[in-house]
Amino acid sequence: MSQIWQHVMDALDVETFLACESEEEGKNLALTMMKELGFSDIDVVFCQFQGPGARVRVRAYLYRAGDSYPWLDLEKSTEAKKA
């Protein structure tokens, strides 16, 4: 995993407007987009379809409750990465 993600406290939200023909299509497009960005623990937080497309907020969890959190000690995490 790239070092930049060690700074993310829990999740990455992407909010955008997707041109599509239904709410379902909007959700699928949003999830596909996150997968193509390389995320696996993903979910659609919000999706509203009207007329031209869907307003979506899609989330990738990087650290869930109970995971190990690299941002607790970023120096150590960076050293471990280098080693």
């Binding site: 909010e15 955008t16 407007f17 023909e21 379902e24 009207q50 007329g51 307003r55």
Partner: protein
Amino acid sequence: MKDRKRVLLAPIDPVHDIGLKMVGRSLSEAGHEIILLAPDLPLEEIVQTALDKHVDVVLLSRTVGYGVAELLSRFNDLADAAGLRDQVKIGIGGMAIRPELAQELGFDAGFGPGTTMEESLAFVEGRPYEKDVRLTQKQRPCVAQGHSYEYLNDRIRGLLEVIASRIAAWAEERTSPGVERARVRDELWDMDKWRSGEKMAEFEAAYAPLCEALVRSYYQKGVLHPKTRRFTAEEADSLNTFLTRTALFMNTPRIQHTLEKPIIFNQYGTGCPIMDITHIKVSEAWGADGVVHFDPSWGARTEGLFDGFITHSEDGTVITPDNLFHIHRSLEPSTLWQVRAHRGLNTPETVVLAGKIGAHMTKINFCYGSLGAGTDPERLTVDAYYAMKYAKKYDLPFDVVTNEELCGVPAYKAFAGMLIVAQLARSLGCRPVLQPLFCYSPEVMISKQMEDNYIDFNAAKIIALRSIIDAPIWPGAPIAFLTQTEDRVQSSAATAFHASLSAMLGVDAISIASSDEAYSGGPITVSSKVDTLRAVAEGFRFHGRSKFMPSETATRWAEDIVRGIESVLASVAEKGNFVSALYEGILGSREDGAYPGRAGAHTVSKRST
């Protein structure tokens, strides 16, 4: 009741789902018998109760998402095994439910978030669901309706009548290149011929000499403005495909809750008419009642209008017949369309073009346009006078904006200018709409009227105007100007609070910005438009029909504003020559932050009789 149904309501959550209770109440009110079970009963007990009570319909609800598919699947198996599935209709609903899930699991219906009571009732009664037309169809509203334009302040009325009649007499004897182009556009430019691509030689021969070199070379050599490019035929075709597809899914919901007003306007002006159209469609789909065309600043300082379906990468979308035509045909029938004409060298011609293409409103104010937007006061006073005449001819009400407040001009001076314009408009038979700013202006930053809250001074403005004249009021533009930051939550909240205040004050319309209002790094996004529309809708839902009670401070400040307006109008009347009053700063001085514009200076001439 003929088809009275017995309905079992079962929440399969640890707590009652409020939605299920609301459905229960709605079914009861419709005459059906309701059996509401306790939450979180074993599924076997729910199935057995349904059998024992001989119900017609079972409605299950589930709010918690975890394990919902497994749980409902097990219920289905139990219902099948007990023979319940053959006897009753079973529907599932709640926050965790989607219609697709219900279908996948074999239920008769699934009601997700946003389900209406009517939808559940139709399912229970076994009839097709018909959408509430209020949610999908709305009529185009009118801003300038329901007001008498009667004055309530005789002293101010008297001063305004004197000043406006002098302006009319002065302007009637003058003309400008802008006025002459407007006349040519009005008399020689034919919309039908233009649509059929027929060359209008007489128009071009008369029009081109009245334009500056850049525009003239377009009509004589076909050369476009260097900052613009023409759309390709493929791009135009793709736009048609987009509009056809969008039309299949288009609704125009109301953003207001229980009140009819304020009418909500959203400005567009990405620079690209195709992107503008997408912004407009999204605005319409999220409840905007009207949209406002915003043109680039260079367009306002250029003598003459180009033509062609053209785009550029700057703020504001170029006014051409082709651009306006494409935007107009993309609008929903219920959408109000305003084309602004208030600040530049093409003011009267823009009104003519807007009227011929089908705009519903325009925007005119020579005080702001000449003190805060760069156009020479003499030129704009003449141009705006004729623009008003065309607004009357093409039946275009217009707002009189007071954006000079953003330069630092105090509200009372800006209002004096606005009222002069409004009185001149009334004398010509027009329907002006007063547009005070709901903003955190330099005046209040310095004088600290908004140190505690944003309510009192904005309310004072409305109270002051209402004590002078019964005219439509449309705070803008946009509301919450200079209170928003780049943070979308803060920006949306600020917009919603100002919108709620506007509604509680009972104004006729408001202009709202996107949540990108304070961002200056690039064009605003379509998502940011949805942000503020959703926030405003939530604000309207929150306050409903509740009223705002002005404080003593607001009342006192309103009286100060009225006194200030009177004093400014008296000075303008005493000066005699209105244009001189503008140059000399009576309606906003250099010390205030207002500088008379220079664009179009020395271009006014006496009309030949």
